[in-house]
Symmetry: C2
Subunit: 425 residues, 2 copies
């Protein structure tokens, strides 16, 4: 029997350093292009396509800009990824793309229109990572004094999705005629006003984009909270998982409750494989990644995530001893029995909070298969711990052939759309 | 003395038929690609670049979808042009692009970020056509019951511009360091919060995009109303003119009042040159364009512009006899002394409200030079009256060499940015 195929995405930010802090630093003579140059991204996208990755996945944010984030490029600046994706569509044929867009900062008509347009330009290769945003820093760029409360954001997002679904369905599949002989562009009986009136949004419709190759983007979600998992169980086709087996089981239960087949919700886990010809070489690469990250950089990232100034504590402080409820959750998220110091927490934040899988191709492929056996789910979000053009080339040269040899990763794309790839077994 | 150079833009919508109704109809055997396919736009952009046009200019709208607009494709559907522009950036080296974005439907942070990102991706070739939007149909897609009143929209747009300027200036030019040796990405003393608090918008900043090649997009505006001209005199570097000499003079006066040099505001006029080897051939092409447009299509476009149902009147009705103040303005805009029937008004609306300049290359070049002598201003927005890939090829094959021969149009691009081209004399 053929083995179940793993799904892999390249997980990035259109930024100097995606999720591993200070990864914009690299030996200068090996830098071919910088992160803000088109060629950098063309190289990454073409490498991922050569490696048959499902997609290049862009996280996004709309805030930042305090002293530390400017000095160290802590998830700042972040350029607009939608525009980069349509640029990259011209230099790839098969690779999928996913983009993070916020239901709090976009209007539903604007968002649905942009994603349908992107589905046309990419010819069916677009996915939407649905986020509600969370930081007060982001809110303050959008005329809000602070972020809308968590559960209200999700209620609002539910209504947002309803508007989008109706817009995407506002053209019946055979509405478009382009009948030049009779001068009929489309059949007005098959293109519908939606006349949506909700608690947060009104929208008249129809969508001003003709039906796109996928009809609607692949829907992706990443919320780890209870309300977030409930949202995912209702809407998502692909989920960025957090935690482990309990998450897989919980999501399956929730999907069933909503009358959905759990196998139709793919789960991918964040990971940073670091692969080299020898284990020693791989370990040396990992060490160089870690050596680039001063503890204060992780501390600044934590400060911004928790909206509190953690730099006023000594690095030896136990996180349990820090005032304020939010930060206590860190201990649990690290799955550590023993007390965690701020230094350790900052290091884990600084390196990106994803497990490093370090070793030879055989060792890393073993770890990846074991993780999926253990946690369930379908694959990995692969985030670059060092200079991304080189990083993905290393993976495609060393790791992908080993996964393909084992029959756990595709050798060719099957189908034409991102949705086809995402549901390939 | 070298003659003053004319400026030319390709003026389109990412839609089946830009400004000439029914121009999506064409002999089927001559259609190479359709308007929703990437290749159609690549062809247009590459043709305009070969012809040394200043830019490809996308109008935009966020509404439509009534029965007539669906049936005849009356400025509907309209896909999102920002995404198309970044795609096209990959297939052009010099051509500029302009995109219409609404201060009513975008948040300033979102808009400033997208345009700065596009300025990076195009390497300094982006312009922004600033609009405030006007139709209730558009408002109803964005949770508004009707459009914000005209003058309030412009007051709001003034504040919107102020936020954008501050965001674009929030990074000092030498703030970016990317100093890998000392681990300093940017100098926090040179990247500033803007902490803007206005009547309509608050924004914390800084912008999350590093300084772009042009610093800010070329600013373009098209409002013909008194308040619109006042806005243009304050903000615009390039204006889509309306009317004639009085407009040129009025704008110059207003510019002086705001302490600006009138020569730093370029004026371009809408026009549709229809050029062929012989005058008879050009006239036959024009007739085929007009024959494709049933009067009711123009009537529907007028109905939607004036937000009233004009289809209930006979085509022989004089527009002066129609109730409601708005439509009276049509007579004036056509500069006709004699009474205008609804049929005539509908025909002029249907063909796109721009003058047809019909004839041989010599005849049309003469007309263009005369128009600029007569009205002042700097060039033309050239809108395709028929299948756009063929139309622009015809112009570049026939008209451009004649203009170049006369020394009134560039033979090569000078400079690298859209702003360089726009201000080339």
């Amino acid at each position: 029997m053929a083995k179940k195929k793993m799904h892999l995405t390249g997980f990035v930010l259109y930024a100097p350093a995606p999720h591993t802090m200070m990864s914009w630093i690299y030996p200068r003579e090996k830098i071919r292009w910088h992160w803000h140059q088109n060629e950098y991204w063309r190289s990454i996208a073409q490498t991922l396509e050569r490696g048959k990755f499902d997609m290049l996945f862009f996280a996004d944010g709309w805030g930042g800009g305090n002293e530390a984030s400017v000095r160290y490029a802590v998830q700042f600046p972040v350029h607009d990824p939608l525009l980069l994706i349509s640029y990259l569509a011209g230099f790839t044929q098969k690779l999928g793309f996913a983009v993070t867009m916020s239901t709090t900062f976009y209007a539903p008509f604007m968002l649905a229109r942009k994603l349908s347009t992107l589905d046309h330009i990419t010819n069916g290769r677009i996915g939407w990572n649905i986020v509600t945003s969370f930081s007060n820093g982001e809110a303050r760029n959008f005329s809000l004094d602070k972020m809308i409360p968590h559960d209200e954001r999700y209620d609002r997002a539910d209504e947002f999705m309803e508007v989008c679904y109706r817009l995407w369905d506002s053209w019946e599949p055979d509405a478009l005629k382009m009948d030049m002989e009779n001068g009929v562009f489309a059949d007005p009986a098959k293109v519908h006003r939606i006349n949506f009136r909700g608690k947060w949004f009104n929208c008249q419709g129809p969508l001003d984009v003709i039906p796109s190759p996928q009809g609607r983007p692949l829907l992706i979600q990443a919320g780890a909270s209870e309300r977030g998992r409930e949202f995912a169980a209702q809407h998502a086709e692909c989920v960025f998982g957090a935690g482990g087996r309990w998450f897989t089981d919980d999501l399956a239960q929730r999907a069933l409750k909503h009358g959905r087949d759990p196998s139709k919700i793919k789960i991918i886990w964040g990971a940073q494989p670091i692969v080299a010809e020898t284990a020693a070489e791989a370990q040396a690469i990992e060490q160089s990644v870690l050596d680039r990250i001063p503890p204060q950089v992780g501390l600044h990232l934590m400060s911004s995530h928790f909206d509190m100034d953690l730099t006023r504590y000594s690095l030896d402080t136990l996180v349990n001893d820090i005032e304020g409820g939010a930060i206590q959750g860190i201990v649990e998220s690290f799955k550590r029995a023993e007390p965690v110091t701020l230094r350790e927490a900052a290091q884990i934040y600084g390196r990106g909070m994803m497990p490093h899988l370090v070793g030879t191709p055989v060792q890393v492929a073993d770890q990846m298969e074991e993780m999926l056996d253990h946690m369930g789910g379908d694959g990995f979000q692969v985030s670059p711990p060092y200079y991304a053009p080189d990083y993905y080339e290393d993976l495609v040269r060393l790791l992908i052939p080993e996964l393909q040899r084992r029959g756990v990763f595709r050798k060719e794309y099957r189908g034409d759309t991102l949705r086809d790839y995402a549901f390939e077994e």
